[in-house]
Symmetry: D3
Subunit: 64 residues, 6 copies
């Protein structure tokens, strides 16, 4: 506790993910006073063909 | 906002997913007055071997 | 299956929610061929003070 | 209802998953009086490289 | 790890919830060999007016 | 995208939440190169009586 779930587009590098979980954990420590070992972060890679904004999947070509 | 997450069995075609996110987005526009660009839909494919109803995974043969 | 979770700002009327779940369910029927009785929709009211975009909670006054 | 989502490390055998959903479903029946057919369990395999505790992904070598 | 989230109708007694989390945790121990202290269970009370099946909120009178 | 959901114990102050979403958003900007306006953070307050670790709700007195 806290437990954080991140939905993000797939394709991030291991280095990016490593920095992301480090930064989010630090934010919990700084803002909430959490002990780092109590912070869980779960990353969920989402394909562009599985995420829509405005009714359009992000795998579809943008309308202009 | 709103943000919608859909757990569905894997195996849907891109066309089905495209229609699904369009329909869900339209439902938010019609019912809530949301602006389409504020509606996010995330699809989460679930294997039949990862979804159980009544204690039986959907990958198991049905009892008769 | 499918199971849909909707995060939305609190304050919607019962009528709006009723129309929303009806529309989302119909979208699943139309796009996926789901039987209506297999479609579950769970609504999750979120306070403006619990939802942030761009690092600002929606309860905070907009910067201009 | 209830609907249960389980985030677990990937790599469990089909037999383990089968026993897990059976046990969780039985817990709902015993504790809540749920009918088994109303209990849905969705398993979500998470890679060790997508789960962090204490700011360290579980794919990283442990500090000693 | 594992982390379990349970969406259930509101109105359960503390005793029912206590038994539920105990049973789910034991299921993880038995099926996965998890250490109990690594099992997190989060309960999410859902109002009948926020859960729909077949397009009808569970707060609505059943059609006959 | 990304969209972040945080389950945390209820009782945090508005100031703590404000700092938390700011820090998490900054972590996404720094690690992923996200535009701040594309980062959504949803906070979910959880009662101690709805969160269990090791099969014990956090509202129960600790065993010694």
């Amino acid at each position: 506790m806290p437990t954080i779930r991140v939905d993000l587009f797939e394709g991030r590098t291991p280095e990016q993910k490593k920095n992301l979980v480090k930064g989010i954990t630090q934010a919990c420590v700084d803002a909430l006073g959490s002990k780092p070992e109590n912070v869980d972060v779960i990353l969920n890679d989402v394909k562009r063909s599985d995420w829509a904004t405005g009714g359009e999947l992000h795998s579809e070509p943008k309308k202009s």
